[in-house]
């Protein structure tokens, strides 16, 4: 018997669809699982249930609009599948709302992938690509979320170098903190350009009224050209409470992926290139690989050790 228990019941009523249905039919029974005395229970008698339901629907809409900003391609792809609108709404529930805010988008992405994999019926031939792209955005959301939770650690990771020193290839290199790397079947940014015609802030409102068609998805995913997507989140500037993040995102040839495991903080880019040549890689490949590393170092995704 406490205000805490009333709060638990109130938030559950807002975010638990089944509980609301039960509450409409039999309020006493619906609240039976909460330790409320008669007076505390009576506080819920004042609720106009249809208004509560409307309120809850509006909240879900607003929450989806926010989640869509972190997972734009995932939302666009999902919208092309039959029944997506209702399903996306159902994925916002009590359990999702219990996840810390910083990690909510990643959790939503996981749920979306589960739905696309096991319950939805996307075109069979497109499903693997759709899952890979949703997985990539989910990984990015997870990386951003973990940085938000560990903002003090992030401040220690420092910015990317503004200009590379001449000897940059001779410095030990590693993947930067709060970076993630995933293979995507197509350029994620190109798919976003093709399927998300408005700013991410307005995207859910747009997709809710104008879902992407299967034909649009098919066109966007037509030419499979696997890419290695590397992303690093950093703080834009020091914020005492809510960190604001910026994202450095680089897409390189998927052939780059095996090289990443050599970036262990001891090896130098120069050594990696030499070993590649010794292993028989054609000389003509070296400039392209060097350019790829330069791009990654410039974006702060690969960190050089021993810089002043």
């Amino acid at each position: 018997m406490s205000l805490q228990e009333q709060e638990r019941a109130l938030f559950d009523l807002l975010f638990d669809r089944d509980l609301r249905v039960q509450f409409r039919e039999n309020p006493t029974e619906a609240l039976g699982g909460y330790t409320l005395n008669r007076a505390e229970r009576a506080d819920f008698d004042t609720i106009r249930v249809p208004a509560l339901e409307r309120d809850a629907r509006m909240r879900v809409f607003m929450l989806l609009a926010q989640l869509c900003q972190e997972l734009p391609v995932s939302f666009a792809l999902a919208s092309s599948v039959a029944g997506a609108g209702a399903q996306l709404r159902q994925l916002v529930d009590r359990e999702l709302m219990d996840v810390p805010v910083a990690l909510r988008a990643a959790e939503f992405g996981n749920r979306l992938m589960d739905w696309m994999q096991f319950d939805a019926e996307p075109p069979t031939d497109l499903q693997p690509q759709m899952l890979a792209l949703i997985g990539a955005e989910t990984a990015m959301a997870r990386s951003a979320g973990s940085l938000r939770q560990l903002q003090s650690a992030a401040q220690e990771s420092g910015p990317a170098p503004t200009a590379l020193p001449a000897e940059w290839t001779t410095l030990p290199a590693s993947i930067a903190d709060h970076a993630c790397a995933v293979i995507v079947p197509q350029s994620l940014s190109e798919v976003q350009r093709a399927l998300c015609p408005v700013d991410t802030e307005d995207l859910w409102r747009h997709l809710d009224g104008h879902p992407v068609t299967e034909a649009q998805v098919r066109t966007a995913l037509l030419s499979e050209e696997p890419r290695l997507l590397l992303v690093r989140h950093t703080l834009t500037h020091t914020q005492r409470c809510m960190p604001l993040l910026s994202r450095q995102q680089v897409e390189v040839s998927s052939g780059f992926a095996p090289l990443l495991r050599y970036l262990d903080g001891r090896n130098r880019i120069h050594d990696i290139l030499e070993q590649l040549q010794q292993a028989g890689a054609p000389q003509s490949m070296v400039p392209a690989i060097l350019q790829g590393f330069e791009q990654l170092v410039g974006a702060g995704i690969v960190r050089l050790h021993g810089l002043p």
């Binding site: 609720i47 208004a51 909240r59 805010v101 909510r104 005492r240 809510m242």
Partner: protein, 293 residues
């Protein structure tokens, strides 16, 4: 606290700092707002450039965020409160007002968008006692007077009349009140009660700010539902609430038109109508005179 000693800000507008209509252009326009209220991020660095431009154009600002829990058992984090105090000082906000509602849950301080939007307080005695702790928690950090605002409500939980809850909360914590006319309309629809029937609970001299904003009505099986929508027209019910309450509030220092997303010309037209209404209906000579300047 003597609220009558707070500066008279007159008629102003609540605007988004980074979107149309441009606050600086509006402030400079003839008949433009005399102050600008904004809902910004907690960290002051994120708004200082825009705020300084508004102040340089001659208008003071009021910081009106949406991340403080002024009710409920989830305490505000000291880091957020300290930063809020720094924000208020940096922008020179003469008081600090926000809706008295849930913005976040558990140990996860953040903006009310994490819940979709505000969750209204439970109108009960136990909730009222806890709200007093939340208000004092903020007052302990913030150097300017704190004003609490009844939030928009689709539904009511609890049996205390709204003005009984807010009247006692204000008296017990010596804080000020902000009344949004649309929010009061939303309460009337959610509760079936009338605000004018509850005025005897209200320490009227504590109401220092009034908001007027657009809204939409939605029909439900249980009757109409008011939805706060600043980009929409001001509803007749909201005008009626304003006309009924303003003459009874003797200490209003600021009347704010919340108009984010409305074109500049339309904002100026509504400010003209509001100015005329306040000139006629203002509850104090000082407020009415402020409409002349």
């Amino acid at each position: 606290m003597k609220f009558s000693e707070l500066p008279m800000l007159g008629l102003g507008a609540s605007l988004s700092l980074s979107a149309q209509p441009d606050p600086v252009a509006l402030v400079r326009a003839e008949g433009g707002p005399g102050f600008v209220e904004y809902a910004g991020l907690v960290d002051p660095e994120s708004v200082l450039d825009e705020v300084n431009a508004i102040r340089a154009a001659g208008a003071p600002v009021l910081f009106h965020p949406s991340y403080i829990n002024f009710c409920g058992t989830f305490a505000n984090a000291s880091r957020w409160l300290d930063t809020t105090a720094a924000h208020i000082e940096a922008v020179g906000s003469p008081w600090f007002a926000q809706d008295c509602a849930y913005c976040f849950r558990a140990d996860d301080p953040t903006y009310s968008t994490s819940l979709g939007y505000f969750v209204p307080p439970i109108l009960s005695h136990a909730s009222l006692e806890t709200a007093k702790d939340r208000v004092r928690e903020v007052q302990d950090h913030v150097q300017v007077p704190v004003a609490i605002e009844p939030p928009p409500m689709s539904f009511q939980v609890g049996t205390l009349p709204l003005l009984a809850f807010f009247g006692e909360l204000a008296e017990a914590t010596d804080c000020a009140l902000l009344f949004d006319m649309g929010h009061l309309v939303s309460y009337e629809m959610a509760s079936g009660s009338r605000i004018v029937d509850q005025l005897h609970y209200l320490p009227r001299e504590r109401v220092i700010e009034v908001h007027v904003a657009g809204g939409r009505l939605r029909d439900t099986e249980a009757g109409p539902l008011y939805i706060d929508a600043h980009e929409a027209e001001i509803l007749a019910d909201t005008w009626a609430m304003f006309e009924a309450l303003l003459p009874r509030l003797p200490n209003v220092r600021a009347v704010c038109y919340e108009c984010e997303g409305i074109a500049g010309d339309a904002v100026l037209a509504t400010l003209r109508r509001l100015r005329e209404a306040v000139r006629t209906l203002g509850g104090s000579a000082e407020l009415r005179e402020a409409m002349e300047s």
